[in-house]
């Protein structure tokens, strides 16, 4: 389909392991966002890319979290030395060219990360 694709859908990691979550945005979408959604909460902003440039990473909770989008399309969110509090659904969203705040976000199905 033409939607935002995220993989894997589910990931179980032992505490201390590193994980990498992938997002394939809609083709041609310039803006890409990562959100974290804890159980029973709304999505919380992590970081924002415009093409390959990471313009805002103020939502990343610690230096264990790292995101990249080297060629301006696919993005990877990496979490090092995972902790139990990292358990959440990680959502990726993209939006069409233009002002990011005027363009509605298209979300993927998310990756559910469980840290044991």
């Amino acid at each position: 389909g033409a939607g935002v694709s995220q993989s894997p859908r589910y990931k179980v990691a032992k505490r201390g392991q590193d994980v990498a979550l992938r997002c394939d945005p809609i083709s041609g979408h310039v803006s890409l966002f990562w959100y974290q959604q804890a159980l029973g909460q709304g999505p919380e902003f992590l970081t924002y890319f415009q093409n390959e440039a990471q313009l805002d990473k103020s939502g990343l909770p610690s230096d264990r979290f790292f995101a990249e989008r080297p060629e301006g399309s696919v993005s990877t969110l990496k979490i090092q030395r995972t902790q139990q509090e990292d358990s959440a659904v990680y959502l990726c969203a993209s939006s069409a060219p233009g002002s990011s705040y005027n363009s509605p976000l298209h979300f993927g199905n998310g990756t559910r990360l469980t840290v044991t």
Partner: protein
Amino acid sequence: AQSVSQHNHHVILSEAASLELGCNYSYGGTVNLFWYVQYPGQHLQLLLKYFSGDPLVKGIKGFEAEFIKSKFSFNLRKPSVQWSDTAEYFCAVVNTGTASKLTFGTGTRLQVTL
């Protein structure tokens, strides 16, 4: 920092009942407002949005929302709900000055019974 409050966490309605879900935001500047919906097993999708102009906006599936600037509110309404409206509803706001951060409320789980 901006924040969004959704006062109803879980709402149960019978089919054909009217719906109103509350949403209040904290930011006093110029904002764009959204309602997103997440049906069971599906991704978040846009229900409706307000940028400017007529404060009463209409979205998909018969939903509408009214922006009341003086009350910092953007409540979602539907005159007659259907079983298929069972979903989680999220209000979201973006400060037009930040150009990046969409801030979500905690969501309202709507359950429509037959």
